[in-house]
């Protein structure tokens, strides 16, 4: 009898685990918290600040989704993941979404069964070297020792780049960005390679950032974006359109400062009204409150504000908008219309 109960409980637990994939939004609402996978710490993108609160470019996406779904940008449980653990964490349901400078690739999308919902940063892989080495191009790196985060696309790009240029290197595989930084500064490797944005963020934390140079070569396309599991399209849509809302808000001039005013008094622009839920039923269509996008923008700001506040030129990381400018400004940031 007891055995039957036990086995029955196990079976139900198994079924529940299987069904968990289906309705992530309900799970998040029931839990009252969004489980969001981030890096173990990359200043500017996702790192705890002096008060222990997570902040950064990727963290803002998590907070925006939490604000859109739960109405509370602080209702996020941040789960630090390494390059190795991130996909298992997402696939197993430990996290609801992953916002961890993850490159959108064919095999991750199809073979690993994930859904990339968009791109929040167009990046490329670069190299950082100490200036004292006198290297001005990545093609001069023959025989160099290269620190590389293991389990990333950069590992494969690196092998391809050196092979196609017919030069040799010695890889030093490393688990986290902090470790890489330590080894690089100790001179255990000549070069550190990762996404150019990550290099800039890492360099900003050095004691003397001016002693290190980023080489001009960008050897890969690294479209970074948030992702969710395959199989729950409603949840994928929520994350996708939250990101799009942030991008559209910048395009339409909606900021965290004026969003409350615009929502309360209405505007002459119907697209802003639809975005903020004062007109139309977009919120109902996506299964959220009418003011979901307003909450997200109010919590973290529009895409441009998030960029400037965390990694922009006024911050120590000092990244230019470049490809990540709005399409109207010559960049690639282009959201489908809210209609």
């Amino acid at each position: 009898m007891k055995k039957t109960v036990f086995l029955g409980a196990l079976t139900i637990a198994g079924l529940a685990a299987g069904a968990a994939a289906a309705a992530t939004l309900d799970d998040v609402k029931a839990r009252g918290k969004l489980n969001c996978g981030v890096t173990t710490g990359l200043v500017g993108f996702a790192a705890p600040n002096a008060n222990g609160e997570w902040e950064g470019f990727d963290v803002a996406v998590c907070r925006a989704v939490a604000a859109a779904t739960l109405g509370d940008p602080t209702a996020v449980e941040f789960v630090p993941t390494t390059g190795k653990t991130r996909f298992t964490a997402l696939a197993s349901g430990e996290i609801d979404m992953l916002a961890r400078n993850t490159t959108w690739t064919f095999s991750r999308d199809n073979d690993l069964k994930f859904e990339f919902v968009g791109v929040n940063y167009y990046d490329g892989q670069g190299f950082m070297v100490p200036k004292e080495l006198g290297v001005s191009s990545a093609k001069e790196l023959d025989g160099a020792t290269v620190c590389i985060q293991t389990g990333t696309t950069t590992e494969l790009n690196l092998a391809d780049f050196f092979r196609s240029n017919n030069i040799s290197y010695e890889p030093v595989p490393i688990e986290t960005n902090a470790e890489a930084q330590q080894q690089y500064l100790a001179g255990a490797c000549d070069v550190y390679t990762t996404d150019a944005s990550g290099l800039a963020a890492t360099r900003a934390t050095f004691e003397d950032p001016s002693a290190h140079a980023l080489l001009p070569e960008i050897i890969s396309k690294e479209p970074l974006g948030p992702l969710v599991r395959h199989g729950d399209n409603e949840w994928g849509d929520i994350v996708r359109w939250t990101l799009n809302a942030m991008i559209t808000a910048e395009e339409l001039g909606v900021t965290s400062a004026n969003v409350a005013d615009m929502a309360a008094n209405g505007t002459d622009n119907p697209e802003i009204n639809r975005l903020l839920g004062t007109e139309g039923t977009l919120g109902e269509m996506i299964g959220l409150e009418a003011d979901w996008a307003k909450n997200a923008i109010m919590a973290v700001g529009n895409y441009g504000e998030v960029f400037e506040g965390n990694i922009g030129e006024s911050t120590p990381i000092g990244l230019a908008r470049g490809l990540n400018a709005q399409w109207t400004e010559g960049g690639l940031m282009y959201s489908p219309p809210f209609r």
């Binding site: 020792t145 590992e155 595989p173 490393i174 330590q182």
Partner: protein, 403 residues
Amino acid sequence: MTTMTDPPRQSFRLSMLLNDTRYRSYTFQFIALVVLAGIVAVLANNLVVNLAAAGLNISYEFLANPAGYDINQTLIPYTSQSSNLQAAWVGILNTLLVAFLGCLFATILGVIAGVLRLSKNWLVAKLMSLYVEAFRNVPVLIWILIINTIVVTMPSPRAYRGDAATHEMLFGVIAYTNRGVYIPAPTFGPGSMIVVATFIASIIGIFAYRRYAKNLLFNTGKLLPTLWPSIALFFVPTLLMYFIMGMPIGADIPALTGFNFQGGIQIQRPLIALWLALSIYTGAFIAENVRAGILAINKGQTEAAASLGLRPGRIMNLVVLPQALRVIIPPLISNYLNITKNSSLAIAVGYADITATLGGITLNQTGRAIECVLLLMLFYLIISLLISFFMNIYNRSVSLKER
């Protein structure tokens, strides 16, 4: 006076399965087996169902696909275009290399420390106690990281460069950097094979001579010196042949070209950190085994040997250690297994063992977690069973032969 009579044979009844002690244990074992099988089945079913729900399958086809990444230490030919299987082989060989070096070094260290801990010299005994206690009681991962950090603080190759070089190569031939130690590699010119053959022949000669000396001792009681002839046999013929052949063996001395030292043999930092940490950590355990083994030998044995006039060194080598081996070998096997399994901590310092290649990068890049982990388990199981098998053969050869 009692008479033994068989109890009247009862026919088997179902209730006896619970009430009769003869059958009860079978009943419970059977129930336990069914429960265990049930749990395994439920877990396996859960896995299959959830994989199917996620649209994933179990497949080992990825092993034949190009790996796409580079490995820093490869004992067999490997490029980023090689298959994932080849990458796994590279990892397996690296695991075996560090396990072999670790076992060797740990044994030497353990035997010395174990014997010295019993020394009558207070300072030596206490120093060895300190070593054993300090290393045995700190997790091996911490030791790996500590030694890695020590190696990282060694000079970088840049310190050897240019006129303002702050470091010079040891004896002009050995470079120690934070990327590893570079030592000269032998280069074999024409005629060098004869020198090598002479060297091998003289090694065989040493063993033959020792065997002859031992037989002579047992048969006639005549004691020949063995140490000095062995050393002479080791060096003299090889050196003679070396000069006769016109010094055919040279040395490829590492030199700083570009970013790194090139030429010679490179012992990379991860290997050094892992090897030393595993050796000195496990060496502390082996030292305790050796000490226990020696203490297990009755003091009368030592005293009897002493009364025969044997010197302390001979007592240890001829009387105590051969008997102590019987106590030492079984726990030594488990220490060797520990080294092999602990070598999977390699990824902490970036050593490309099987856990780092197959269980790390390949797993990550292909996303085939279950398949990779199953293969890993199979590998460690096979290698552990093999080590146990061979060490058990050795154990039988030294164990007490009862006639």
